[in-house]
Amino acid sequence: MSTKQLQMKGIRKAFSGVPALRGVDFTVQGGEVHALLGANGAGKSTLMKILSGAYTQDEGAIIVDGSQVHIASPGDAKKMGIHCVYQEVDTALVAELSVAENVMLDRISAKGSRLWLNWGKLESEAEATLARLGASIPVRKKAGELSLAEKQLVLIARLLTEQAKYVIFDEPTAPLSLDEAERLFRVIEQLKGEGIGIVFISHRLPEVFRICDQITVMRDGERVFTEPTADTNVDAVVHAMLGRVFEEEYPKSDAPIGGVLLQVNGLARGRSVRNVSFEARSGEIVAIVGLVGAGKTELSRLLFGADRADTGTVKVSGREVRTTDPADAIQGGIVLVPEERRTQGILVGDTVQHNLSLPLLNAFSRFGFMSGKKENNNAHAVIGKLGIKTSSPQQQTAFLSGGNQQKVSIGKWLPTEASVYLFDEPTKGVDIGAKSDIFRIIGQLAEQGKAIVYLTCEFTEAIGIADRILVMCDGALVKQFMRGEATQQQLLLHASGGKGEQA
């Protein structure tokens, strides 16, 4: 068999009993660019990790150029000519070494390489490889001094020196500017011309339609769609990604919407948050939706003073809030329930009671001495109010379930009298029951006249809970929908830069 193709057949993989892949077939031809799409958690990265040797499948076969192979480690994958360009380019580069050394790194460190290196030859080979990609990067420059796009090119050049036959690009354009992305597309064209098969993972549909020959969509661990790009369109792909729209129950909050509480004006930080302005009113739930990496978490951290903004102002009830330290934001009435609950939202090594006291140590102490009674009363009140399942307030939070930990992370703010609540992906990793509890809590906060900013990549949640939805793409707010206006298709379209993107 001389057909150049990489086949995956009936791949199954489960993590501690939970199936992530349910019998997936996937084929890439040599000289083809094949897009692999799917919502978060659809299984595309699991599939690619099996291909690159990071995981091993439970069932199914991998066939490279006609012969079945066993890939047990990343080293095995490389031997078969299967390479992966990950998004985090810095982990694969040695910043202190030159570009030439980085390009030739695998050659240098290979077993059986000669003791003495011929630097002249090394540099000229690296130069030639980069030239093949149409890149002119000085080979004596240190890799650490390169731009992100240049680093990516160095990694691509490296895998060329190793006779790569199949290359997986995992969201390569996410951190790139438009120009840089253009240059990457030309490189991909070049690889394709050399007969290399390419798997292209991206959230940005326009570029997928531009450079890919085939499109495969995954959903819930299955392959649901494969078509040549020429025979399909954006709507069909979006539909395949979302599947049937299943209705979830959201307690609709009927809180009366009052005056403006939060006013954000021209907030920006680097390229992750660009000129963001919006407002949120008393009793209003504003959802900010976007794909992973759109800048939602970064925005929430700016609003809370966890990171410093380059420019922009944040006002609560008309008064400007200093956002240089979270303590200032809290005093100004803004609180954040962060995405990374176990490392940022709570102290897992501490008790429930201590966690719930943290923002109000002054209120719970007298002349500096903590009042165990006040702390305990507060803990009991919050535990009762939010229905936190814990054996006692003295329980260590590490032993609580994800949903209950999240409730602690929310509950610590309840006695602070904050007027603006920021929630960053609050339902991530919590079970259905706790999820609806969290929605109920958010609804109650809105009824009390708080302004809620709900940042999420789950479009159904935004549609279910929000009075207003703002779509974020590449760090900027690109579209607004009122309650009842938005569909998942529209949100996905705008979030992937499909329509109305600001050029």
Binding site: P326, T343, Q344, I346, L347, P359, F364, G368, F369
Partner: protein
């Protein structure tokens, strides 16, 4: 196996302390006498103050290598102020405490503002402070009636009230031992029952989570380093009061002893984190070992081997436990 390890972690250090005391008591009948016990406690009192300082920096997940130099600095400073400049005791003590605070503030500035890693910043400050105190005395120790550069004798002497701090007794108990016990109790209460202690523990437990809960972590860490400097300064004051001279480099060996005491303390009753009661027991273990070995006429320089070994064992127990807990 797990149970055995858990038991060792929880009670191991106390059992070791008990066994060491038992061993020395059997070896020499003079060991377990009131005179010798109070001698041991007096000898550890200074190290305990330094170790309390180290407990502060470790509690906020930092480290302070400069405490030994701070002891040296404040020892010669107090001596110089009395012997050279005849200053009143209260003023002498206040200046010494303030200079400890300044060293702590410098550490905090470098670590919290400039963001130099704590070990490196305090290593540099350790050298600077050691250099300052030796430059100040031109390398000489300071004592009563010492000759001055101009040929005269030094005008002042150590104040008896000052010496009482290091040498006196109250109801038969040495004054530094009383001060030590008061300090251990006070710092224990501080960490356990005050909001500042809570903030320090929280900051050390997870700085980012603490910050996102509204704790001003930079301020808290600054306070911890200042406390570290001040407690080291108390150690220096007591040292000068005990020996009645301003020895240069007096604090040099204390940094190691203090760090060893704190890490022995990690495992006392299975705390798994810096705690002042544990630190106290750690200091006792080291004091007993050094006293016993002197009694056994072990060569003086072998003390360093023992101190280092105690530290290694304490670290081994602590980190085996912490890593298992993290993986388990």
């Amino acid at each position: 196996m797990d149970k055995a390890l858990h038991f060792i972690f929880k009670y191991g250090s106390l059992i070791v302390i008990g066994l060491v005391i038992l061993f020395f008591s059997l070896w020499d009948k003079h060991f377990f006498t009131y005179a010798n016990i109070s001698d041991i406690l007096r000898s550890i009192s200074i190290v305990t103050f330094v170790a309390i300082g180290v407990t502060f920096s470790l509690t906020v997940d930092g480290f302070d290598l400069s405490v030994g130099s701070t002891v040296s600095l404040t020892t010669v400073l107090t001596a110089a102020m009395m012997v050279w400049y005849q200053q009143p005791v209260i003023f002498v003590i206040l200046v010494a405490l303030a200079s400890g605070a300044v060293v702590g503030l410098l550490n905090a500035l470098l670590i919290v503002r400039v963001r130099i890693p704590d070990l490196l910043a305090t290593l540099a400050v350790m050298y600077i402070v050691a250099g300052i105190h030796k430059t100040y005395t031109k390398g000489y120790s300071i004592y009563n009636n010492m000759p001055m550069p101009d040929g005269s004798t030094a005008p002042g002497t150590f104040d008896p009230a000052f010496l009482w701090l290091g040498q006196g007794k109250l109801l038969g108990v040495p004054v530094p031992v009383i001060l030590m016990i008061v300090a251990v109790a006070a710092v224990h209460i501080f960490f356990k029952y005050t909001k500042w202690g809570r903030q320090m523990h929280t900051t050390g437990g997870n700085e980012e989570a603490a910050r996102l809960s509204g704790i001003r972590v930079r301020r808290i860490r600054t306070f911890a380093y200042i406390a570290s400097g001040v407690f080291a300064a108390i150690g220096g004051i007591l040292y000068a009061a005990r020996v009645g001279t301003g020895q240069i480099d007096a604090g040099a060996p204390m940094m190691m002893e203090a760090v060893a005491a704190v890490f022995v303390g990690y495992s006392v009753l299975g705390a798994g984190k810096p705690n002042v009661i544990g630190t106290f027991f750690g200091a006792i273990l080291i004091g007993v070992l050094l006293n016993g070995m002197t009694m056994m006429k072990v060569q003086y320089y072998a003390n360093d081997i023992v101190k280092g070994t105690v530290l290694v064992l304490a670290l081994a127990v602590t980190f085996i436990h912490l890593n298992r807990r993290r993986n388990g």
